[in-house]
């Protein structure tokens, strides 16, 4: 294994560097805060001769994803970057990319959706794409952003998966924050991720095929089933590739990573950059003798229900922390977690906390409050309020 160079860089640079190490052929991209540095860095790599690839400076995110689909369908390794309104604009094309089984990778600077317009951290943009058939990864820190880009290509292109993947890093909290990262050597990434060759054909005049046919009621359901089955079976591939990555590069990844969960009575379930703060809060509460643990969700799609059951099945309470909201119900991670336990006899009592929308800060004290509220419900044996919003400013409310 080659030496892993240490760099101190912003999150967008980490995902761009991760992408560069994967030697993409075509990168169609449209700038949007907070992920703009990604296409800027890729442009620089190409301009300086560090990356042999073509950028397409498209006129919209819809065209960015459309051009990714075109490029990927002739067998190019393709990626892009976007956020928020950009992902909303390409929403239609996300479903088409997955339905056509094209392993496109997208780096996301997770950001809130308008209105009101807001450029700060929030998971609503990718959560709103939950049902688009993309694998979804969320990074806690810049190192994970870099590594997950490499992992995303490897998993997406695996013949057993062949689905597009998005890697989310929280807007500003990670995208614009400088952190130390270790950069795998190019030759090691080349070995880990061989060149992409579509296993089931591509657009090629020598062997003409029609892609994107009209799927009538006689065929549509079976074609969808195939696609969903690939997603359902992907955890096995993801675990295998995470393990291979750890062996090669020395960093461990899990679909969900437990922290101090073994004897924990109450577990906090988090996703993205908030996890670092939650971990610090857990450490402090542990010092105070509280039996609290933390589970970090790295893979949201496919949802790792199997691991969540293992980690939290014996706990008394599960506090699911969502940086997104589905109006009329609650957070998406909560809805999925609750769904996973529905047929289990033994399950934790669950509460949902909505935090950090539109870049609202999330403090250690907020996690302590969530813990206390969950503990209270556990002691009472019932939940009064299933979904609670945390760190609200009464002065702003009317």
């Amino acid at each position: 294994m080659g030496e892993q160079k240490g760099l101190t860089i912003q999150g967008n640079m980490a995902t761009a560097l991760g992408a560069k190490l994967c030697r993409p052929d075509v990168i169609p991209a449209y700038p949007i805060t907070p992920s703009t540095l990604f296409p800027e860095k890729i442009s620089e790599y190409i301009a300086d001769g560090e990356l042999d690839a073509s950028m397409i400076r498209v006129e919209s995110e819809h065209s960015a994803m459309s051009a990714c689909i075109g490029a990927s369908s002739i067998g190019a390794r393709t990626c892009t970057a976007s956020a928020s309104q950009g992902i909303a604009l390409m929403h239609e094309m996300l479903f088409i990319a997955s339905g056509m089984r094209l392993p496109i990778v997208m780096a996301v600077g997770n950001r809130a959706l308008s209105a009101p317009i807001n450029i700060w951290a929030d998971h609503q943009d990718t959560i709103a794409s939950r049902d688009s058939g993309w694998l979804q990864f969320y990074a806690e820190k810049n190192q994970e952003g870099l590594d997950l880009m490499i992992l995303a290509f490897k998993i997406a292109e695996d013949e057993r998966v062949l689905l597009p993947a998005m890697v989310g890093i929280d807007g500003f909290v990670l995208t614009h924050t400088v952190e130390g990262v270790k950069v795998p050597a190019q030759e090691d990434v080349d070995e880990f991720l061989p060149p992409y060759e579509p296993p089931h054909g591509k657009l090629d005049p020598k062997e003409p095929m029609t892609f994107g046919s009209l799927g009538t009621p006689e065929y549509y359901q079976e074609l969808k089933y195939d696609q969903v089955e690939a997603m359902d079976k992907s955890p096995e591939v993801i675990d295998e590739i995470f393990e291979e990555f750890e062996k090669e590069f020395g960093r461990e990844y899990n679909r969900i990573t437990p922290y101090k969960c073994d004897d924990a009575e109450i577990i906090l379930l988090t996703m993205g950059s908030m996890t670092g703060t939650a971990r610090a809060a857990v450490d402090e509460m542990r010092e105070d003798g509280e039996k609290v643990g933390l589970a970090k969700l790295t893979v949201f799609r496919p949802f790792p229900g199997d691991l969540l059951k293992e980690i939290a099945g014996d706990a008394k309470g599960l506090a699911v922390v969502d940086r997104n909201i589905s109006p009329g119900f609650g957070g998406a991670v909560f809805a999925e977690s609750a769904g996973i336990f529905i047929n289990e006899k033994k399950k934790p009592l669950m509460k949902n906390f909505i935090v950090g929308l539109g870049g609202r800060e999330i403090f250690k004290k907020n996690f302590k409050e969530m813990y206390k509220k969950t503990k209270k419900s556990v002691e009472k044996g019932s939940v009064d309020k299933m979904v609670e919003w945390i760190n609200m400013d009464e002065k702003v409310m009317r």
């Binding site: 052929d25 075509v26 169609p28 690839a53 073509s54 397409i56 400076r57 498209v58 006129e59 919209s60 819809h62 065209s63 459309s66 051009a67 990714c68 689909i69 075109g70 490029a71 990927s72 369908s73 002739i74 067998g75 190019a76 393709t78 239609e92 094309m93 088409i96 056509m100 657009l203 090629d204 005049p205 062997e207 003409p208 095929m209 029609t210 892609f211 994107g212 046919s213 009209l214 799927g215 009538t216 065929y219 074609l223």
Partner: protein, 293 residues
């Protein structure tokens, strides 16, 4: 298609309506382009009638993804082929109807032109959203009754003129823009060839009558396309390198026929009075004067 080749690139057995102008156009265009071609197609009549799984009418590689993005998907293909060291001999074409070109696909088309991708875009113009059931579009001509611009006591039908798509395209300063019809097959073939041979983006705007939407006899499609040119309703021209001020009229009718001959064959215009027709004639006369005939 060279004379020696006898393989049709657009297979029969598709599900187009009898007399569909698009079918005639597609057979001509794909045979001219030949087998070394990759195409994208927008959602619409052409797509639904030719790609129902597990069949296809396309003997060349084809990708359909959505309505508004045939030109963007083609952009991705063109760049990827160049990047991946292909020789650059493959034609890249995008196909869309008038809805997918004039309206919802216009942004993607303009982007493809501006970025100078070597893509030929074919617009098959039947002057309304026919696949969804004859709704008006910015290509619908003045006076046409459609399901969303119906003629009525207080309505003449479509009350705005047709958007000048080909002229707007030429204003992008792209290497080649042409208008063509399904009645002028040699002219269409020549223009498709020029578009494919151009070093950069090209547009061929093909006038393709629709018996279902225009409500004319299905054996009148070619005749209507001819009449459109002979009455001056649709002008055949080409412009190279964005020379829009100097566009070349490729077919000048010797004597222009009155527009009524064209309008009266179509029930979408059946409600028009002689006064309406006079007004339309006047507008055509002015337009033809601009074009120099």
């Amino acid at each position: 298609m060279s004379e020696k080749e006898d393989k049709e690139m657009f297979a029969s057995g598709h599900r187009m309506c009898a007399g569909c102008g698009e079918g005639i156009a597609m057979r001509t265009i794909l045979n001219e382009a030949g087998p070394n071609t990759i195409a994208t197609v927008a959602t619409g009549c052409l797509e639904v009638t030719t790609t129902a799984y597990p069949q296809t009418s396309w003997e060349i590689p084809l990708i359909h993804s959505a309505f508004e993005n045939a030109a963007s998907v083609a952009s991705g293909i063109e760049v990827a082929l160049k990047q991946m060291d292909k020789k650059g001999e493959t034609n890249i074409m995008s196909f869309a109807g008038d809805g997918g070109t004039f309206d919802i696909g216009f942004q993607a088309l303009s982007g493809m032109f501006e970025r100078k991708h070597n893509v030929t875009h074919i617009c098959l113009d039947n002057e309304a959203y026919m696949n969804t059931g004859i709704q008006r579009c910015s290509s619908t001509p003045y006076g046409a009754s459609t399901t969303t611009s119906p003629a009525g006591k207080f309505s003449i039908g479509e009350d705005r003129p047709k958007k000048p798509l080909a002229r707007i395209s030429a204003a992008h300063d792209i290497p080649y823009v042409a208008t063509a019809t399904i009645a002028h097959i040699k002219d269409l073939k020549k223009k498709v060839r020029k578009a494919l041979d151009a070093d950069g983006p090209a547009l061929v705007h093909v006038f393709a009558p629709c018996p279902t939407g225009w409500r004319h006899a299905s054996n009148d499609s070619v005749e209507l396309a001819r009449l459109a040119v002979e009455t001056g309703v649709f002008v055949l021209w080409e412009a190279e390198d964005g020379e829009i001020c100097d566009l070349n009229i490729t077919h000048k009718p010797k004597e222009r026929k009155p527009v009524g001959e064209y309008l009266k064959k179509q029930r979408r215009f059946a409600h028009l009075t002689e006064e309406h027709i006079e007004k339309i004639q006047k507008e055509i006369d002015e337009k033809c004067e601009q074009y120099g005939f």
